[in-house]
């Protein structure tokens, strides 16, 4: 009887370990999915509320202008 109880306890331990492992795996998967979603939303130049990223807008506007001191590079003579 004692042996049977011991076997049951061992079995339960195994099940608990596997469950614990499963929880860990699920946590990793969820964190990964969350991180990925955040990265792709960062890439999309607009925030989650549909507003345009300030830096992106500034960069786009600034790219429309020319610099008075810009040079055309054809190399140096010496």
């Amino acid at each position: 009887m004692e042996k049977v109880m011991e076997a049951d306890r061992n079995m339960n331990k195994k099940i608990i370990s596997l469950l614990f492992l499963l929880i860990v795996m699920i946590s990793v998967t969820l964190s990964y999915a969350y991180f990925n979603q955040q990265t792709s939303s960062d890439d999309n130049q607009t925030g989650s509320n549909g507003d345009v990223n300030q830096n992106t807008l500034t960069t786009e506007i600034d790219s429309l202008f020319l610099d008075e001191n810009q040079n055309i590079e054809i190399g140096d003579m010496i």
């Binding site: 049951d8 786009e60 506007i61």
Partner: protein
């Protein structure tokens, strides 16, 4: 009792199956991410022209290729504004300025070499070629349909003659003398160069004024007196830009998004157009110098 054992085994089997499934999903997810990362890296490398570590034998070729690629990318960037005659005029003037400066430096170098009793015939021939290119740049029509092609060809010719001059000079003088002459010519200038700079400044302000006028129009508040002040040099571009950004920040996010979309669309269009032009020119062999 046996039934209990079988049930427990079933539970374990199920859990193991789920675990295997989770592992497979995770592995494939990481594999996809790694693949994306590799592709992004190679794209970034192409865009930024970062030098890669290669063997010594291929290093020179690699550097030449990188320089060529960087030069073409710069040219592609420069021709984006050439869809208007004002943009084309500015680019041709900027090329003129670069040529004036190089010819000036070349002439001064020849004078120095003559004083050192060095034969300068080959250098003078190259300078004559560069002067021919300068004359062609000055007579190029910014309103012509082929102004972009003309600009790219002349820029390539300028680059090739400049390199030719530099290489010939290296055969005639040692590095120390070259470095000394280079130092002497660092801040060289003349009236012609100053005049060209003034013209560029004028046309660039005109170009930026047009862009600002359009942007203020999109915002819905055209401040013509501010634009005139910018044109006359009474306020800087940064000051006007600051005012514009302030107005944009006060707008609703929908309106801001509308402006962003419009600008982005225009930027992408000009980028694609410039890229296609460069590709076409490479296909027709006009992208590496040599007149049509």
């Amino acid at each position: 009792m046996a039934m209990k054992g079988v049930n427990a085994m079933k539970k374990i089997t199920h859990l193991l199956l789920v675990l295997m499934l989770m592992t497979a999903v995770l592995s494939s997810a990481f594999a996809v991410q790694a693949d994306d990362h590799d592709q992004n890296n190679s794209d970034d490398e192409n865009e930024n022209h970062e030098k890669v570590n290669e063997t010594d034998d291929s290093h020179q070729n690699e550097t030449d290729h990188e320089n060529e690629s960087s030069f073409n990318n710069e040219t592609e960037h420069e021709i984006r504004v050439m869809n208007t005659s004002l943009g084309a005029r500015i680019r041709l003037l900027q090329l003129e300025k670069a040529l004036i400066l190089n010819i000036l430096k070349g002439n001064m170098t020849v004078q120095v070499l003559k004083n050192l009793d060095v034969n300068t015939t080959s250098l003078e021939t190259i300078l004559e070629n560069l002067t021919d290119v300068l004359d062609t740049v000055r007579t190029a029509d910014p309103d012509a349909n082929d102004s972009v092609q003309v600009f790219v060809q002349l820029k390539n010719e300028s680059k090739n003659f400049t390199k030719q001059f530099r290489d010939t000079l290296r055969l005639l003088l040692d590095n120390e003398t070259i470095a000394r002459i280079k130092e002497q010519l660092r801040n060289i200038t003349n009236d012609e160069l100053q005049d060209c700079k003034m013209k560029i400044r004028h046309w660039v302000r005109e170009f930026n004024r047009n862009q600002l006028y359009r942007l203020f129009g999109l915002v819905g508040e055209v401040n013509t007196s501010l634009l005139e002040k910018y044109l006359n040099g009474n306020v800087t571009l940064d000051q006007v830009r600051f005012h514009l950004h302030k107005l944009v920040n006060q707008m609703t996010k929908e309106k801001r998004y509308m402006i962003f979309s419009e600008i982005k669309e225009e930027n992408i269009k000009s980028k694609i157009h410039a890229h296609e032009t460069m590709k076409n020119m490479e296909h027709h062999g006009k992208g590496h110098g040599g007149r049509p």
